[in-house]
């Protein structure tokens, strides 16, 4: 599962449109399962399930008819659809709504129905553009559980979201995009390490706090310090090695430390940090 992160207007949806054969790339090449999207769009469409960030439904259809229509549009014979559709509705927790008209469904239900629609032709790749947008917390959790289930089923999923904490726990890798360029890509933890411009260290001492703060302030990798009673908070621009060195230097200077710890920063902080100035609204 690949998470696609970036501020609004960075190019997430555009990338997904290109992947889904709905927009021509201005340059470069895009391949899905070895098929160039511009050369073999039909082959690509067979292999992808695309869920746009905003989509409409045919209100006058019942949920099963809706899925039958898309199933038939992908060339799935009726006998197969008759077996498949109840399973799909089960997967997205809509079995009790099988005879309901689509316009009677809630937003979250429509979102799940659209996800079922993506799965109707058993695609290898799911392209989900903000699948949880506009959902209440409960519907979000339901959507997340379904996505986890799909991941367990072995689907490759590209998901974009600006709700980062949700992504962090699900995705294997993230790509950060801004102004149409990938500015960072890799495992969530790696990115966290690589892109962390500042880590915030908390140094708790038994005494000599003022001296310690002065010592830290003069360190070349320290950008800022704050003191809060016996704890000195340090904005530190180094990596793991430099952090270990700093600890040794403090001990060598004879400071008595009770703790030397790194304050947790989350994906959202990093995102804000690396995209600042880019008009990010996440």
């Amino acid at each position: 599962m690949f998470g696609f992160v970036g501020p609004n207007g960075a190019g997430k949806s555009t990338t997904m449109l290109i992947l889904s054969t709905l927009m021509a790339p201005t340059s470069g090449s895009v391949k899905v399962d070895g098929f160039e999207v511009t050369e073999h769009p039909k082959e690509v469409r067979k292999r992808i399930g695309y869920m746009p960030d905003f989509f409409g439904v045919y209100d006058q259809f019942k949920t099963t008819e809706y899925l039958h229509f898309y199933g038939a549009s992908y060339g799935i014979p009726k006998s197969e659809r008759d077996q498949l559709i109840p399973q799909l509705l089960e997967l997205v927790n809509l079995s009790d709504k099988r005879d309901a008209y689509v316009d009677t469904l809630s937003r979250g239900m429509k979102q799940r129905l659209c996800l079922a629609r993506c799965l109707v032709h058993d695609p290898e790749l799911l392209i989900l553009d903000e699948p949880a947008s506009g959902l209440d917390p409960r519907a979000r959790i339901e959507m997340r559980e379904i996505l986890k289930e799909l991941k367990a089923m072995g689907k490759t999923i590209i998901i974009s979201s600006h709700i980062l904490p949700e992504l962090a726990e699900m995705v294997d890798e993230i790509g950060v995009i801004e102004h149409g360029q990938i500015i960072a890509q890799g495992k969530v933890a790696d990115i966290q390490n690589r892109l962390r411009v500042k880590r915030i260290l908390s140094v708790r001492l038994t005494g000599r706090e003022e001296e310690a703060e002065a010592f830290l302030r003069n360190h070349p990798l320290v950008t800022r310090t704050m003191r809060d009673d016996r704890v000195v908070h340090v904005h530190f621009a180094g990596g793991d090695e430099e952090q270990a060195d700093l600890l040794r230097q403090l001990l060598d200077e004879g400071f008595r430390l009770i703790s030397f710890s790194e304050a947790q920063t989350n994906l959202e902080d990093i995102f804000l940090e690396i995209t600042k100035g880019g008009g990010g609204t996440a």
Binding site: L22, A24, P41, K42, Y50, P52, Q60, F69, A72, C114
Partner: protein, 305 residues
């Protein structure tokens, strides 16, 4: 076994004839109350026009022969046919100019375009389904025509020919609506463009004909009769007009009049009748319109090399 293969053959035939998009269009169209209201008002308008005509004729003839005679019945047939043509001109753009842009506005088009349905299937299904609904509406006005049969003066073949011509006109106007619907993002724009073209076809071509007719009459007045061409080219303008072409089916002498040079000796002649020329020209135009709609439905992915 035999039954099974027969059933399979049937289902494959029906699946070829009714593809998923067409099936969806048929179902959804008939599920909206709007379709029922359209049918209701259309048949109501046609019925009212026919009854108003009969009323007027009987009022005029109050002091003359008491019965509604075949010649009047024929006039009524022509009157109803023009009314029908007018209603088609109103209905066809409205029904087709939103078929693609409407899906785009409802944000369902992208989902449809990522399926395995080809652009041609989607476009043709949209056109056929709109056409099918219009045919249903026109068929529903048959009882109005039965009033004409009651009084005589018209053959069933003329009626059939006229009906096929209506279908063709709906096809032409529908193809314009479809193309604009594909090209324009907003349905409103597509509707306006389609009505604009419809207005031009019905009124614009007629006005151009009348204007040029006047100019040419003046020109030929001073030319010796032997020097004038055997027929006037401006007749072709009238062949672009659906109402004139329809009238040439009911009144074949119209073709001769359209190409006729007044004051000329001998017979004016034309290459073909107005309605034949109409069908020939618009078959080509409609094929082009449909081709363009198919071409522009999906973005062009291949880059020019």
């Amino acid at each position: 076994m035999k039954n099974g293969s027969a059933a399979k053959g049937r289902s494959s035939w029906s699946s070829k004839l009714v593809n998923p998009v067409l099936d969806k269009e048929f179902r959804l169209r008939m599920r909206t109350p709007r379709s029922m209201w359209a049918l209701f008002f259309y048949v109501g308008a046609m019925g009212a026009a026919a009854l108003a005509f009969i009323y007027l004729m009987t009022e005029i003839n109050r002091h003359g022969p008491s019965a509604f005679n075949p010649e009047e019945s024929r006039m009524m047939f022509i009157f109803i046919s023009f009314a029908q043509m007018g209603l088609i001109a109103f209905m066809a753009p409205g029904l087709t100019a939103g078929v693609i842009s409407g899906e785009r506005e409802k944000q369902t088009l992208n989902l449809l375009l990522t399926t395995q349905q080809s652009s041609a299937t989607i476009i043709l299904s949209k056109l056929v389904s709109s056409l099918a609904f219009m045919i249903l509406i026109v068929l529903a006005t048959m009882p109005v025509y039965s009033i004409v049969f009651l009084y005589g003066g018209i053959s069933p073949w003329q009626l059939l020919g006229l009906f096929l011509f209506f279908v063709f006109v709906m096809f032409v106007l529908g193809a314009f609506g479809l193309l604009f619907s594909t090209l324009f993002k907003r349905t409103m724009l597509a509707v306006i463009a389609t009505y604009g073209v419809t207005l031009f076809l019905f009124i614009g071509t007629a006005l151009m004909f009348l204007f040029l007719n006047g100019v040419l009459q003046e020109l030929y007045r001073n030319v010796p009769s032997t020097g004038a061409p055997p027929y006037r080219w401006i007749g072709h303008l009238l062949a672009l007009n659906p109402a004139a072409a329809m009238y040439s089916i009911l009144e074949p002498s119209l073709t001769r009049q359209a190409f006729f040079v007044s004051g000329m000796q001998g017979n004016s002649r034309s290459p073909m009748t107005l309605w034949q020329e109409f069908i020939l020209i618009y078959s080509i135009v409609t094929s082009l319109l449909i081709g363009l709609s198919i071409r522009y439905l999906r973005p062009r992915l291949k880059r020019r090399t």
